[in-house]
């Protein structure tokens, strides 16, 4: 099974109910509006560290995650806020996380959307690109070994495909026929590096035969096409037929992070994608003209999203900062607590004198 091909155009996704069709829009809208809120908070310096956008890639994240069942597991990357929302992450969690609050999912330990929850079925990524592929090979190996009817999905960017970890992980999963879907989000750039300097391949989907797996390619800005292709890959995995590589072609309209001015992008390229190929605009058009939804349905979602984000922001802003000593908890199951170093004994916190180092101005970590 090494055939690579474009998945069929998917303007009539008969398997989705009308509620689901609207839901897709809800998740995309929520993703975009939540990020817009984060931009405001970033400008107010309430965000600690960098801010990463998925503007223009909402369809890719939402449509692919939507193809999973609740019991399935996915591993998101920095531009998969939409996937995480679909999988059950809440705006409140995201906001607390970006503001490094004590009651955020990582209690202030990790950056931005680097968090997970195995109950809801998403795994906290680390920064080192590619590493989640072997990890998801192992997650799905466990499904196979236990005979569980569960599937895993891991995202990699066009840039991350160059890492050794990606290669080792996808190959391992392919040989073991793990129930895994590998989504390559080809958004044209890795930081400033265009795809042409990342690989000499014509398409990322051309990598599939080299691993003896199925390959599919879809328009990443068409949420229904994304859903359809991913669903096909998920079904393949669920049927015990192993790994599929799904290439989603999309475009990163913002810089790598908020500070990046995208000087390396050819004149007009961003505007063209924004004008002609915005995934939300496109889907609204489909909903209205092809699927027969009225303007009220769309407006209703927008209102709901706005209210939800406002409420979440209010609550997140009330969230406490972490207690300094919480940093010592839980490196190991046993011992549960790292010792306080001798020169701190009896001192409330490191910073009860004056010093409080500032983050470095334009520093953006991922």
């Amino acid at each position: 099974m090494t055939a690579s091909r474009a998945a069929p155009a998917a303007s009539h996704p008969s398997a989705l109910s009308r509620d689901q069709l609207l839901e897709l829009y809800y998740w995309m809208r929520l993703t975009r509006s939540l990020e817009e809120r984060l931009v405001n908070l970033y400008r107010q310096t309430k965000v600690v560290g960098g801010l990463f956008r998925s503007l223009g890639q909402e369809a890719d994240a939402v449509g692919s995650a939507f193809a999973l069942e609740r019991r399935d597991v996915l591993s998101p990357l920095i531009r998969n806020l939409g996937s995480m929302l679909v999988k059950g992450a809440t705006p409140l969690e995201i906001l607390r996380q970006y503001m490094a609050r004590g009651d955020s999912p990582t209690r202030g330990r990790e950056l931005n959307i680097h968090f997970g929850d195995t109950e809801r079925g998403f795994i906290g990524q680390i920064s080192h690109l590619g590493d989640m592929v072997p990890v998801m090979a192992g997650v799905t190996l466990s499904f196979k070994l236990r005979g569980e009817d569960r599937v895993g999905l891991v995202y990699v960017g066009d840039g991350a495909t160059s890492t050794g970890a990606f290669h080792e992980g996808i190959n391992f999963a392919a040989v073991q026929r793990c129930p895994l879907v590998v989504v390559v989000e080809n958004n044209g750039y890795a930081y400033s590096t265009p795809v042409s300097r990342q690989t000499a391949a014509r398409h990322f989907v051309d990598k599939a035969p080299g691993y003896g797996i199925r390959g599919l390619q879809a328009d990443g800005n068409d949420v229904l096409a994304v859903y359809q292709a991913t669903k096909e890959a998920v079904d393949t995995a669920r049927a015990g037929e192993g790994v599929t590589l799904v290439e989603l072609i999309t475009y990163r309209r913002k810089g790598h992070a908020e500070h990046d001015n995208q000087s390396y992008v050819p004149e007009g390229e961003i505007d063209r994608w924004a004008a002609e190929n915005d995934p939300l605009d496109r889907y609204v058009r489909v909903l209205r003209t092809q699927l027969g939804f009225d303007a009220e349905a769309i407006a209703g979602i927008e209102a709901r999203v706005g209210a939800e984000i406002d409420a979440a922001t209010d609550e997140a802003e009330r969230s406490p900062m972490p207690e300094p000593r919480d940093c010592l908890v839980g490196v190991y199951h046993d011992p549960p607590l790292a010792p306080v170093l001798w020169y701190r004994e009896g001192v409330r916190s490191a910073v009860d004198s004056h010093e409080r180092p500032q983050g470095w101005g334009t520093y953006d970590a991922r």
Partner: protein
């Protein structure tokens, strides 16, 4: 080798490891092994020999040559409730999984509350003419990674007891096996479910005049030296076998310093950057007043480990080195 057979007599360090794997796989269906050539072939050193016959291909998994994937996949499986035991064909190849271990695995619990109970084990160490890439002692490279545990047994019963503890541990344990000891040391196993706790050192020999703190193969060299020093110099040398390197048994270290007031730290790794530095710092920190002499190190020369016998023997610490160093220290 069944548990019944084993109870009747002495088994080697290598067989002790196999016995631990066997017993833990019997006890807990979540335990499984993965690595290169560990299935039908039984592993390069035959440590996993026979496991596949008993537990089948799903629990003794031959992998591609992909150390990062082996470790990463183990982590993923561990998150889901399994208990993977990874074999590195030689521990030298753990370097290929360095990122995965130090960044992904070690931090999983802390940053993401993901349990990651897994073991990475493999043949380590020199004295076997393995050359620079089949003789390494990688422990020092992992010592500054909170989230990992490191053990390195010297005896057959510790190998068994520590591996069983490692498999039951809720976090990732690096289990270094000294290949020079695989078939050279033998012991009868304690009866029953033999467990050696992680984090506890062992006094391998009691003494009053001087302490040698060490682990793995050099425990045996230290014991040889201690005997010679007793015989030829009337010196009473204590040998402390650390067994666990992370966490380290500070209590036992302090106790031996207080007893003898003179410490020689011995290890097979290079002197610079080896674990002796950490041990020396801890002694300074916790028992400086008890020192009658500087803490001294006997370790490998700071060069890649060469292959020819005459070269390897020169680079690595030998019993005669320990004897000379101990005499100097005793006379200080």
């Amino acid at each position: 080798m069944t548990p019944a057979e084993a109870a009747t007599g002495e088994i080697t360090y290598l067989e002790a490891i196999r016995e631990a794997l066997f017993e833990e796989m019997e006890r807990d269906p979540n335990v499984f092994c993965l690595g290169e050539d560990i299935g039908r072939y039984g592993g390069a050193f035959k440590v996993t020999n026979g496991l596949i016959d008993r537990f089948g291909e799903n629990r003794v998994i031959d992998t591609p040559i992909s150390e990062a994937a082996i470790v990463g996949a183990a982590a993923g499986a561990a998150h889901m409730g399994l208990r993977p035991v990874c074999e590195m064909q030689f521990i030298d190849f753990i370097s290929c999984a360095y990122d995965m271990l130090t960044n992904y695995v070690a931090t999983a619990r802390y940053r993401a509350f993901l349990p990651c109970p897994m073991v990475v084990r493999g043949p380590s160490g020199g004295y076997v003419r393995g050359g620079p890439f089949h003789s390494q002692n990688p422990e020092a490279a992992f010592l500054h990674t909170p989230g990992l545990k490191i053990v390195y047994p010297a005896t057959a019963s510790d190998a068994k007891g520590l591996l069983k503890s490692a498999i039951r541990d809720e976090d990732c344990v690096l289990f270094f096996e000294h290949k020079y000891l695989y078939r050279r040391v033998k012991e009868a196993m304690p009866a029953g479910d033999h467990i050696v706790p992680i984090g506890k050192a062992r006094i391998a020999r009691e003494g009053r005049d001087l302490s040698i703190i060490t682990y793995a193969a050099t425990v045996w060299k230290a014991l040889e030296a201690a005997e010679q020093l007793e015989r030829e110099d009337g010196l009473s040398v204590e040998v402390l076998d650390l067994r666990s390197l992370l966490p380290m048994d500070d209590e036992a270290i302090v106790a031996t310093v207080r007893r003898t007031n003179r410490v020689l730290v011995v290890h097979e790794d290079t002197e610079t950057g080896g674990i002796a530095g950490e041990i020396t710092a801890r002694i300074n920190d916790l028992a400086f007043e008890w020192l009658d002499a500087p803490v001294k190190r006997v370790a490998a020369h700071d060069v890649p480990l060469p292959y020819a016998p005459a070269l390897e023997d020169f680079v690595l610490p030998q019993t005669s080195d320990i004897v000379r160093a101990a005499r100097w220290l005793a006379a200080y």
